[in-house]
Symmetry: C2
Subunit: 435 residues, 2 copies
């Protein structure tokens, strides 16, 4: 299927590195100028730069271009039936604070490379193709991941997301930053108002299973379930120098024991528990804090196991709080749980998986193709609740991601792009065959 | 000895509460307007307010007034021999971020109450009395405690202390903030240039031993030893959602286990280990940090035991770092120790202790007086390295301090002030008897 297309080898990698260099290259780790990470937090000036560039590129390809109220960018490449709902391909251009160059940009730029290739090959698909850059996928600057795609999919109300505050600077809201950088668009942010027929996405695996299995392409069959909570442990703030151990109700000790215990529970249930954020208050070298707040990110492939992990974490944390109260302390240790989100196990669509699997067999062969479940969340998770969806994974070095050293080879990226293109065109033909 | 003096009951408490209300009252915890804590960080506008007030009060009593290069304020109350080196009494007006009303202010304001009482009683001591407000005793805003007295005592060079940065705002230095609030004085900050003959200080105990022993006055015989270190644990920053446990080199897990272990070591050596500060970087919910930095405050009454604790902490931390490296991680976990200070066991001066003990026997009686070792550091620790020094302790409720609920009764404060005055006047006579 791909043989009729004029693919330009190397151009995708060039685009990945040129856009990284222009918009947020940071944290060099090697001698080559491309060996850096990326800092492009959502709705910052750097993100605006990448967005402006994206708009210019897709317009030059003859795409219809729209921005919705949440800043999601839509580029509609023409098909034979211009009145039909477009086939969707999307990912995100924003990054984590110490990110690599691949992650979301690989998805958007592979989509762009598809449109470039189709144009240069004079290939007109049956239906239009919508290439989408989703806003704040990372949830790093505004602590709600998949923000743009979640509003689009009707999972979260627009107003709730507008009011989320940035973790940096003077804590501007999503709405304030959208307005500041000029990306609060006119198009309604809703599937019903601005639909796509499906959602395809390519991403690095962010785990080492493809690499260790010597596979080149992962057909992602779904996404594991997870829960995000903020835990606030409150005890007694007092003097580090003078307070006898038996008089302490030390939330730092309790939080430390909880974090250590959470690893044991992850092991027991074959899941993951992680703490990325921690904060003690008040902040002084010689004052035991009154509160210690930390994040808890709990994951499992199995919904029932995730639920069991959450129950056991709470039971063990309660025990630890009790144990950490000194026998002479009149003040207890209390725990407050702020539940941020639970995302249940997602199962991707058979049609989309089949298109990816077939394309992979064409590009890299069956022996280098494997099915797997995504551990991380992606915009495709939100999209899978409303339209047929699936993802292409490519290997990344040591499974490392959300790290400047994140790396996939040019060959791995190129293979992934070809599989994505093959899958999108197969789905276009599948739709036509059923019309 | 005190019977000839016109003590005004209640005035000291009035001064404590009035100055707290004017300069930094915060964190109310009870119904009475005096039931709040204090927020008066060193060299802030609030600290400047308290300093200006102090200057005005001591000048109105006829004191000679000097400010040295580190902002230490000296008020010299006249004695019969104006050419003699003054008897020193001091403490500090700055506070922790969530402090109580007593701590340092009790010391400075009790000294002020001595001067007021002497003046109203027309009592002229043999030698001048220097009342001192030391700069940044707490080490809370500028992380070097006893900052002003340490330069004065020749323990630290002036320039080193000038360059210490505030932990807040745009991190101004000590020198910048001294200049900003107008407290970089002309007097050389050095014992040799501006000497005192001794140092007396009153303070709340900040521990529960006086209260539990039903004692009213503690004669402080010295200060326990301690060590301050910043520990930086460095591992591998990666994705919380996807990184298998075996691939992690998680510095958060390692730091948590280290903090938990430090409590065991404190118990084993009958000492204290505390963590007041902790910081993970980068900061994101779904990124395992690359570094976790935490403070470690280790204390013991015995120098040898302190040393043994420090050795064992390092041994155990190294083991934990090793254990926390996943079997598939190519990146290790490393530990960096930033040693901030070690303060060895201090022994206070027999003459000063005797003066306090005798005064306490007069004011509250022998049965309510006990000797004890200070756990926390005070300006008297620095001063004890250069001149005869001792301290008066009074009980505080539940031993709680560095907390808005810190509380001593008016009677306890008044008793302490009388003992301090009795001790200062006894020392004045002792000096004269030996002249």
């Amino acid at each position: 299927m791909l043989s009729s297309l004029k693919i330009k080898p190397g151009r995708l990698m060039k685009t990945i590195h040129e856009t990284a260099d222009m918009f947020g290259a940071a944290f060099p780790w090697g001698k080559d100028p491309t060996e850096t990470g990326l800092l492009r937090l959502a709705l910052t000036d750097m993100d605006k730069g990448a967005r402006d560039w994206f708009a210019k590129e897709v317009k030059s390809l003859g795409c219809e271009y729209k921005v919705d109220e949440l800043g999601n960018q839509f580029a509609i490449y023409p098909g034979k039936d211009m009145s039909a709902i477009p086939t969707g391909v999307g990912s995100h251009l924003d990054s984590q604070p110490t990110a690599g160059r691949y992650d979301g940009p690989l998805g958007v730029l592979s989509g762009l490379e598809i449109l470039r290739t189709l144009k240069e090959s004079n290939y007109v698909p049956n239906y239009p193709i919508a290439l989408i850059n989703w806003t704040n996928e990372e949830g790093a600057r505004f602590p709600y991941p998949l923000l743009g795609s979640s509003v689009y999919a009707g999972i979260k109300p627009k107003e709730d997301m507008y009011s989320i505050k940035a973790i940096d600077g003077s804590h501007p809201t999503v709405l304030e930053e959208l307005e500041r950088i000029g990306y609060k668009g006119d198009t309604e942010c809703a599937f019903e108002a601005n639909p796509v027929a499906c959602h395809f996405e390519i991403h690095i695996e962010q785990a080492p299973y493809l690499e260790r299995g010597n596979k080149k392409i992962g057909v992602v069959t779904g996404v594991q379930s997870y829960c995000w909570e903020e835990i606030t442990v409150t005890g007694k703030s007092s003097h580090t120098e003078t307070t006898p151990l038996d008089d302490r109700a030390d939330p730092m000790l309790a939080a430390a024991k909880m974090i250590a215990k959470s690893r044991e529970i992850a092991l027991k249930y074959d899941g993951l528990v992680s703490t990325g954020l921690i904060e003690a208050s008040p902040r002084s070298f010689n004052v035991l804090p009154e509160t210690v707040k930390f994040s808890l990110d709990t994951r499992n492939y199995d919904d029932a196991k995730l639920d069991a992990m959450l129950v056991e974490l709470k039971e063990e944390f309660a025990k630890i709080a009790e144990e950490c109260i000194g026998k002479d302390s009149k003040i207890p240790i209390t725990i407050d749980y702020n539940h941020l989100m639970t995302s249940r196990r997602a199962y991707f669509h058979e049609d989309c998986k089949d298109c990816i699997r077939d394309a992979s067999h064409e590009v890299v062969g069956e022996e280098y193709t494997m099915d797997l479940v995504a551990r991380a969340c992606h915009d495709s998770k939100a999209m899978s609740t409303i339209v047929p969806t699936a993802m292409v994974f490519i290997p990344c070095r040591d499974g490392l991601s959300h790290n400047p050293r994140e790396f996939s080879t040019p060959e791995q990226c190129e293979d992934g792009f070809k599989v994505l293109m093959g899958a999108v065109l197969r789905y276009d033909q599948l739709r036509a065959s059923r019309a």
